[in-house]
């Protein structure tokens, strides 16, 4: 889809330590322009630190970063005008109105009075903030705040947009709309890097990387990741699921067992050729109960490549 000079972010051997803690460990990453790239990982997996390294806010302990053709951290100042950053927590001013916040950010980015006026008009209508323009930001709902934060992050039309867990305080309806807006931005040429711990969100990204303890466990498009997964996904419909789960989890061939309502979702190592036969010969499951191979989800990918599932179990 692209050539080498179409790369927005390139990092090699990127490591950042805080004292004894290694927040990002030997990360190699390539993000192509005009794509939405996801960072999927639990809290504390190094997503925010990685984003801060790419924005030039933090200096790497070792490794090299190139963002939009600029070498970081040396050229971090030049990068400022070309990137937008939406923080995890709402970080605009609660005691300013929507319009005042946008005017403030516009001035900070050096927009002229005329540019500012037309740009703010435009943003207010794109992000449906027109009716709220004189309302104090602090009194708005999570979804409204998030739209405002996105509007502020793109006021200077950045080439690269960083979103740090943008939808953690937003309901599903607003989350859908938000992603529509992200795809619009992407379509207009913006590269977006978004961190999340929601599977459904990660699944919308063009490509994603799964992070854990600062280490990249896997990367690729969601489809690729599901295809090359190292486990079979098997669903078992049976009685006495809690008991069965305990028995299955003790098997070395079983990576993870999670209960989903009346089913058990079992991840079986790919070395087993026929997982259905493997499970039924164990004689733990009554004969008439259903054992079926199902299509893997991103959550299965996530569970397979993170954590020490052999010991902990999934659900």
């Amino acid at each position: 889809m692209s050539t080498v000079n179409e790369v927005a972010i390139f990092a090699k051997g990127l490591t950042r330590k805080f004292g004894d803690v290694t927040a990002v460990n030997d990360l190699d990453l390539m993000v192509e322009k005009q794509t939405i790239y996801g960072f999927l990982g639990p809290n504390g997996s190094g997503k925010t630190t990685a984003i801060r390294l790419f924005t030039g806010l933090l200096k790497p302990t070792s490794g090299s970063i190139n963002v939009l053709g600029l070498t970081l951290p040396n050229q971090a100042n030049k990068l400022r005008m070309q990137i937008g950053y939406m923080t995890q927590k709402f970080s605009l001013y609660d005691d300013l109105t929507v319009k005042e916040n946008l005017q403030f950010i516009g001035k900070i980015y050096g927009l002229s009075a005329k540019e500012q006026k037309s740009r703010i008009e435009e943003l207010l209508s794109i992000y449906q903030l027109n009716s709220l323009s004189t309302q104090l930001s602090g009194s708005m709902s999570g979804g409204q705040k998030q739209r405002l934060a996105l509007a502020a992050a793109v006021i200077h039309k950045p080439k690269l947009l960083f979103l740090d867990e943008p939808t953690s305080s937003v309901d599903p309806e607003n989350r859908r709309e938000f992603w529509e807006q992200l795809f619009d931005l992407c379509d207009q040429g913006t590269t977006i890097l978004v961190s999340t711990h929601y599977m459904d969100e990660a699944e919308r990204c063009h490509r994603l990387a799964i992070l854990e303890n600062g280490i990249k466990r896997a990367d690729g498009s969601p489809q690729e990741l599901m295809n090359k997964m190292s486990s079979h996904v098997v669903e078992i419909a049976s009685n006495n699921l809690r008991q069965l789960k305990k028995q299955l989890i003790s098997l070395p061939e079983v990576t993870s067992v999670a209960q989903l309502g009346a089913h058990l979702r079992v991840l079986v190592d790919k070395n087993i050729a026929d997982p259905v036969q493997f499970l039924s010969q164990l004689k733990l499951i009554p004969k008439n109960d259903q054992i079926t191979i199902v299509r893997p989800s991103l959550e299965d990918v996530f569970v397979t490549c993170t954590g020490n599932n052999l010991l902990n179990g999934g659900g």
């Binding site: 200096k59 950053y85 923080t87 927590k89 709402f90 001013y93 403030f104 950010i105 900070i108 980015y109």
Partner: protein, 381 residues
């Protein structure tokens, strides 16, 4: 140009926030107003009408006249009468009265022989002659009250006997400059400018920046092209005007309500105030780079404020402090400012003439700025 626009954006935002923050805005006006009234009315070293008791063993016309003469000084007022010295002492224990005047039975003999009364000087060997007329029993724990009553010790008694004043020539001629009526408010009001500016300027700036960190705004600001120095300048400028507003309130009310003279020119006043506001704001900046939240910044402000009240010469004369306290006093910007503003307001001295204090404030500001800028960079990483 862009840099100027960014500083302007911060200033505008700061003013908008201040406008919405009714509490802080109220404090800007009310702190100087209330403090001024409190200090000007409550702190008074010229004490009047101390409640005292009387034990009159003499019960004569003379003793009553003596009592009247004492009342006429205005220092005390007799609220209680006791029959015995024992009862009087119990009353002092109970804090019913602060002191008791005991008039002895032989008050008339004592009075007649008293040297100040003017029946000529008796031979000094005569012990009878040097006996005081009466006795004061005083609760001496409060030194100011004790001193006021002690000042009655050499009260002239001539009026008592309707005799012409026996005028004696003082050893020294004392001319009181700048505050001839000895009104303490004249000294307090200019000093109060220093105390209130210390309090509000340090508190507002340190809190204003820490708040930005606490609420997470800083995380957004540091990804923008805004430079730390632009942020600092933009934050400081609105408070320079607030400081100026407070000075106008304090000196204005001081002048109108308490008749405090403002002898110095406006230029000198502005210069002195500007130097001090800068020093205080920079101190606030330094605090903001150390404090992790608004509570800590408040605590640190109090840590600076207390010595600024006690050691700056505002309440107690610098000359009376032990040498160690004087060292601390010299470090505080408030000390130098209080000297400057008293100089300007009361004595019409030019700021430049008080070179040391001026240079110290400038030095303090510069060093503070460097420290703040250095520490501020660290907090980004």
């Amino acid at each position: 140009m862009k840099s100027l626009q960014r500083v302007q954006a911060i200033i505008l935002k700061e003013l908008l926030q201040l406008k919405r923050d009714k509490m802080t805005f109220g404090m800007v006006i009310m702190i100087p107003f209330i403090q001024l009234l409190l200090f000007a009315y409550a702190i008074n070293t010229n004490i009047r009408d101390i409640p005292v008791g009387l034990v009159d063993h003499s019960q004569s016309a003379l003793s009553r006249i003596l009592k009247q003469t004492v009342v006429a000084t205005g220092i005390v007022k007799f609220t209680h009468q006791y029959s015995s010295v024992k009862a009087a002492q119990a009353a002092i224990d109970k804090a019913e009265v602060r002191a008791v005047l005991i008039i002895p039975r032989d008050v008339s003999q004592r009075l007649v022989r008293h040297p100040t009364v003017g029946f000529g000087l008796p031979p000094s060997s005569d012990q009878e002659n040097s006996r005081p007329v009466a006795q004061w029993l005083v609760d001496g724990s409060d030194t100011v009250i004790a001193a006021s009553i002690k000042s009655l010790r050499n009260m002239p008694l001539v009026e008592l006997l309707d005799k012409p004043a026996n005028r004696n020539t003082p050893t020294f001629e004392v001319t009181l400059l700048y505050n001839p009526e000895q009104r303490s408010v004249v000294n307090i009001v200019p000093g109060l400018v220093g105390v209130i500016l210390t309090m509000t300027m340090i508190m507002f700036t340190s809190a204003a920046i820490v708040r930005e960190q606490e609420r997470g705004n800083m995380e957004m600001l540091i990804t923008t092209p805004l430079a730390p120095i632009e942020l600092m300048i933009g934050k400081i400028i609105p408070y320079i005007f607030i400081g100026a507003l407070q000075v106008i309130i304090i000196l204005g009310i001081g002048h109108l309500l308490f008749n405090v003279p403002i002898n110095g020119g406006l230029t000198q006043l502005t210069l002195a105030t500007f130097l001090f506001i800068c020093a205080s704001l920079v101190l606030g900046l330094v605090i903001s780079t150390i404090a992790k939240n608004q509570l800590q910044s408040m605590q640190m402000t109090i840590f600076i404020l207390l010595p600024s009240i006690l050691l700056s010469g505002f309440m107690f004369p610098y000359e009376g402090m032990p040498i160690e306290a004087q060292y601390i006093s010299e470090v505080l910007p408030a000390t130098h400012f209080i000297r400057l503003i008293r100089g300007v307001v009361l004595r019409d001295v030019a700021v430049v003439e008080m070179t040391f204090d001026m240079v110290w404030l400038i030095t303090f500001t510069l060093i503070g700025l460097i420290v703040a800028a250095m520490r501020f960079k660290k907090t980004l990483d």
